[in-house]
Symmetry: C2
Subunit: 353 residues, 2 copies
């Protein structure tokens, strides 16, 4: 996805849609098993249609895990990186973390009542969806800083956890954590079962994604690389050490920043990388520039019935979110990146389908 | 250790000693086995004397891995962090990475001959040990920037690898990578065999330590947290993507920065932490502030015969390197941090002893 909090500004397209959060009942996703199991090509990737995309994944895993293969990769070098928004879960109509930030505004204002009549907080509190959608990039940055920094890391985790347990996606009326793509969960598991260490490399906030990544993706906090702000070590009123989230950008984990983040946090070149937008281009390039077999895949959102259709699937140069212009599709063809068609390659999109 | 490249300046004490790099033959350390094996308290930690320090380690592992224990820690939360210099390998008479930087000066000047007569390069090239030891913090910073940045990440790795294969410690005439503490290698292995993920959290350069950490400690690059500079994504002359090391500090991984680095790179509070100096104080505090059993240990350099004696072992407030004042020892007693006496707790210091 295109990250939305950075020194370079915010993706305004992310704000063009509205949100409606209605409570319904949801089922928790089955936990990903911790132990590896033998890869069974007939049984794995069960939600994938037979086709070029599925075959590319299976061929890559065979080529890199068979000791007799010229492209064998030792286990410690088996690194697979995944963009999150639009690649592992739904990013429409608006990035989940942005909704979180907007939802947090009342709590922030409750603590600082003087913000009640100050923009952009006033507009967010009004609930006027048109007006909220019209907020400027600078306004959104102000909201992100107010809702993502200033608290301790433990407080942030508790707040985000509570929100994720109740907030619902406007279309499916389900928890956001249920809106992960079942076929991609199967890829994560298949790669791990074959000795791959799976990482999220997201333009979204590292601390936010870490709150749920282990539970819904089976990816532990230390394997989440994201846009990260600084923290400050200090002591609470009880004398106990605390870390406070600061409004200082350390890593802008999007575009070229994804490669820089991979170097900082992983220190190895991935052998496989998955994305869905121009923000993932450099990560795929960097992955592909290594020697031997490399898997580079792009998720194409061409399924308006089961999810959304946007980007080149709609014949558009780019759309509200999930920037994926025709030029990226052209580059994929040129560079040998495999394209995953949600419509044609996936038997189902969600676990609840 | 006290890190030496930072916005806060350089530890001048690190420069007070001289270096002599003489070639001798060395034996490679045996690789750490990748698979966990059953913990055998009689066979593990073989280089440790029976005593309070060894017992603290064994008791901690039992308490956190026995499902029946009130202090049981699930495997995914078993995180152990280790300072490097003075905790895992020798930091006297001068930090290894500083020696590397001084040794790289001729190559830097060969590429930029105009530096030949410019300070501090001129002094380093002179080989005058007294003069080198007298360089200012600012001079050293200039040398670190010139020798650690400006090249691609791949070039840096190749240069550092070559150096580590030949440079020798002046006292033992052995490769620096042989000067790891055998008892600490056993702790690393013992913890891993019991499901712990072992991390280095060092004030030293993250990229430098990653060059050899997997080989000598069994710690992969992604589990090395260190002082880190920014990188810049771009394209080489052949059009291939490259990452260039930039003279921009991202993470000053010392003192409070160690906790901030742990949050950034790991995202979980460690259950065990090992250090040897004031630069490790906050990491031990942060580790100890978690609930349940926590292991916090300090290596005391009190063995002038087999290694070095400095800090409170010498009755000094602090010494050249390895800042470990009496106040830290007092704090250890107060906070229940276990002190490891090299002299009394270790049967041998090095694998070659």
């Amino acid at each position: 996805m295109k990250q939305f909090i950075s020194s370079r500004g915010i993706n305004r397209r992310a704000l063009l849609s509205t949100l409606a959060l209605l409570p319904t009942v949801s089922a928790a996703l089955a936990p990903v098993p911790a132990l590896a199991q033998a890869a069974e090509p007939g049984g794995v990737l069960a939600s994938w249609q037979d086709g070029a995309a599925r075959q590319a994944i299976v061929d890559f895993v065979r080529a890199t895990t068979d000791r007799a293969s010229a492209n064998y990769v030792p286990p410690e070098e088996r690194i697979a990186t995944f963009d999150q928004d639009g690649t592992l879960w739904v990013e429409h109509p608006i990035y989940t973390q942005v909704i979180y930030c907007l939802d947090r505004v009342p709590a922030v204002v409750a603590k600082k009542p003087e913000l009640k009549d100050v923009e952009p907080f006033k507009t967010v509190l009004s609930g006027d969806r048109e007006a909220i959608a019209g907020l400027s990039l600078h306004d959104l940055e102000t909201i992100l800083v107010a809702t993502l920094t200033g608290m301790t890391t433990e407080e942030f985790k508790a707040e985000a956890t509570r929100w994720l347990e109740t907030a619902r996606h406007p279309r499916w009326k389900r928890l956001y954590t249920e809106l992960t793509y079942q076929p991609m969960l199967e890829v994560l598991r298949y790669l791990r079962d074959n000795g791959y260490k799976t990482y999220i490399v997201t333009g979204g906030g590292q601390d936010f994604v870490r709150v749920y990544a282990e539970k819904i993706y089976g990816i532990p906090p230390e394997q989440v690389v994201g846009t990260a702000g600084g923290t400050k070590y200090g002591y609470g009123e009880d004398g106990k050490p605390i870390l406070t989230k600061e409004p200082k950008l350390l890593l802008n984990d999007d575009n070229a920043g994804k490669v820089e983040g991979i170097h900082l946090m992983i220190g190895r070149r991935p052998t496989a990388a998955f994305g869905n937008s121009t923000g993932d281009r450099q990560m795929l390039e960097w992955t592909g520039a290594g020697s031997g077999a490399r898997l580079k895949m792009l998720v194409l959102h061409d399924d308006a019935a089961r999810e959304y259709a946007y980007g080149p699937a709609m014949g558009l140069p780019e759309t509200k979110v999930g920037v994926f212009p025709q030029t990226l599709l052209d580059e994929a063809k040129k560079s040998g990146w495999a394209v995953i068609s949600m419509k044609n390659d996936w038997k189902r999109v969600f676990a609840f389908d």
